[in-house]
Each structure stands twice: as structure tokens, then as C-alpha cells.
């Protein structure tokens, strides 16, 4: 009985504390004010694990068809490059202003070490999931609402090759004919 009372007391205290934080307006939601290291770590771990679990059973199709690079490339240039940049461009209004910042998809993945994507297939499945469903409370939209899986896989194929592309190759692949 004592334990139940203690748990109830803690629950009331927890809810009270939460409500105080919520209604006092003490939390700063400004995007130009970074999280503390602890909060950042908590959010990053939660996100990484959520994506890993959600994407683990996705069947990755063959992504070697050159045609995929052309559809995926045109879509990337039109819909993603403002946030995720392109070869020869290191910043944009979006890449600087958004928080969490959109990762630069035109540089190799091993450059940012907080992503341990495992093998290439797994990484492709995770990219697909993120593009299709987006990421809550970040600038990343869910493109699956307006694009079918085929087009999303084409973008996955494209961003897989993106870090190795020169600005000239990027221009040719993404130009609209």
C-alpha cells in the first residue's frame, strides 16, 4: 500500500512539474537557440532509433537503373537542394536557418559521425522511410503524401550517388529537358 501511495505522489509531482514547465513559457522554442547537449543527444538518439526500427523491414529494390538518376535528380534539384544543398554549394538560407539543420546530402555520410547507418541496403531503406514519412518537428516534409514509392526510390538512388558527383555532373543529371 505504501508503494502505491509513493507512486501516486510521484505521478502527481511529475504532472505538476510538467504543467509548470509547459505553462510558464520557460522553454525557448527559437530555432536560432540550440538545444543543450543533453536534450540534443536525447532527441538524436530517439530519432535514430525510431528510423532504424521503422525502416528495418523495408524491401530495397534494385537501384542501379540509370533512368532512376534522371528522375531522382530532377526531383532532388527541384524539391530538396534548397535544404540539403548540392555539389559546390556549402550553405543556403534553409541549411543555416533550420534547426535541427538539414544534413548536407552532397557530402559523404562518413563525414558526420553521429550516423552509423550500417550497410548500404539499410541506409537506402532508412533514406526511403525518411523521405516518404518526413521527420516530426523538423523541416523535413513527408513527400509520400504527394509522391509514389517509385519516385521516392529514384531519389534514394540519386542521393546515394550524390556525394561523389562533381558540380558539372550534377548539373547535367538534374537539368530538366
Amino acid at each position: 500500500m505504501k508503494i502505491v501511495k509513493l507512486i501516486l505522489l510521484l505521478a502527481v509531482l511529475g504532472i505538476g512539474g510538467g504543467a509548470t514547465v509547459m505553462y510558464s513559457g520557460i522553454i525557448n522554442v527559437a530555432a536560432d537557440e540550440p538545444h543543450s547537449d543533453l536534450v540534443y543527444w536525447l532527441l538524436a538518439e530517439t530519432r535514430e532509433n525510431s528510423i532504424k526500427i521503422a525502416a528495418q523491414n523495408i524491401e530495397v529494390p534494385d537501384l542501379s537503373d540509370p533512368e532512376l538518376l534522371l528522375t531522382g535528380g530532377a526531383d532532388y534539384e527541384f524539391m530538396c537542394a534548397t535544404c540539403h544543398l548540392k555539389p559546390g554549394q556549402s550553405e543556403s538560407d534553409m541549411s543555416l536557418g533550420l534547426y535541427p539543420a538539414p544534413p548536407n546530402l552532397a557530402v559523404s555520410n562518413d563525414n558526420h559521425k553521429d550516423h552509423e547507418h550500417g550497410d548500404a541496403k539499410q541506409a537506402a531503406g532508412q533514406s526511403f522511410w525518411v523521405i516518404k514519412h518526413g521527420i516530426k518537428a523538423s523541416g523535413m516534409p513527408a513527400w509520400g503524401k504527394t509522391h509514389d514509392d517509385q519516385r521516392i526510390w529514384a531519389m534514394v538512388a540519386f542521393i546515394k550517388r550524390l556525394p561523389k558527383l562533381t558540380p558539372e555532373q550534377y548539373q547535367i543529371l538534374t537539368a530538366i529537358d
Binding site: D65, P66, L69, L70, G73, R161, E168, A175
Partner: protein
């Protein structure tokens, strides 16, 4: 009849003018599709088994074909002749 013609004329000119104004709206120029810069393609170290290289060739061949169709008046045959003449001249020197 005369007033009708006048009205028609006025309507036509208003319509054409407003359409022209529309066409020059700056927002339409913001993200104009650019053609692929195929002359910048680096053929020297191109691996034709690489999907990136194949995709670039596809895009540029398609664009070249479209360009040819778009400019039927351009006399490509004459251009070649001129080039040949130049080359010949150089030999003579």
C-alpha cells in the same frame, strides 16, 4: 454594328495586353528550367558501366535530338563544310 466592332477591338487589345503583362511577371523567371550543360561533360575518365555516366549520356543525347528538331533551319551540313575548308587551308600553309 459599329459599336460592336469597337467593343470587340477594345476587348481584344485589353486581353492581349493583360496576357503580355502576365507573361512578364518576374515570378515566372525565378526558377526557369536550365538545359543540361553537356559541353562540360568530361569524356576522358568516363566509365561506361557506371550508371552516372550512362544517365548523363542518355540525357545529353535526348537533348541533342530535341535541339536538332527545334532548329530545322540551321544548316548543319554547311557548318561542316566550312570547318573542312578551314582545316584544308591550314594544311596548305
Amino acid at each position: 454594328m459599329k459599336t460592336l466592332t469597337k467593343i470587340a477591338l477594345a476587348m481584344i487589345s485589353t486581353l492581349t495586353l493583360s496576357l503580355a503583362a502576365n507573361a512578364h511577371d518576374p515570378s515566372m523567371h525565378v526558377k526557369k528550367a536550365k538545359k543540361a550543360n553537356c559541353s562540360k561533360m568530361d569524356h576522358s575518365n568516363m566509365d561506361m558501366n557506371d550508371p552516372v555516366a550512362i544517365a548523363m549520356m542518355k540525357k545529353c543525347m535526348k537533348q541533342a535530338e530535341a535541339d536538332k528538331k527545334a532548329m530545322p533551319g540551321m544548316a548543319h551540313s554547311k557548318m561542316k563544310k566550312a570547318e573542312k575548308k578551314d582545316a584544308h587551308n591550314e594544311h596548305d600553309h
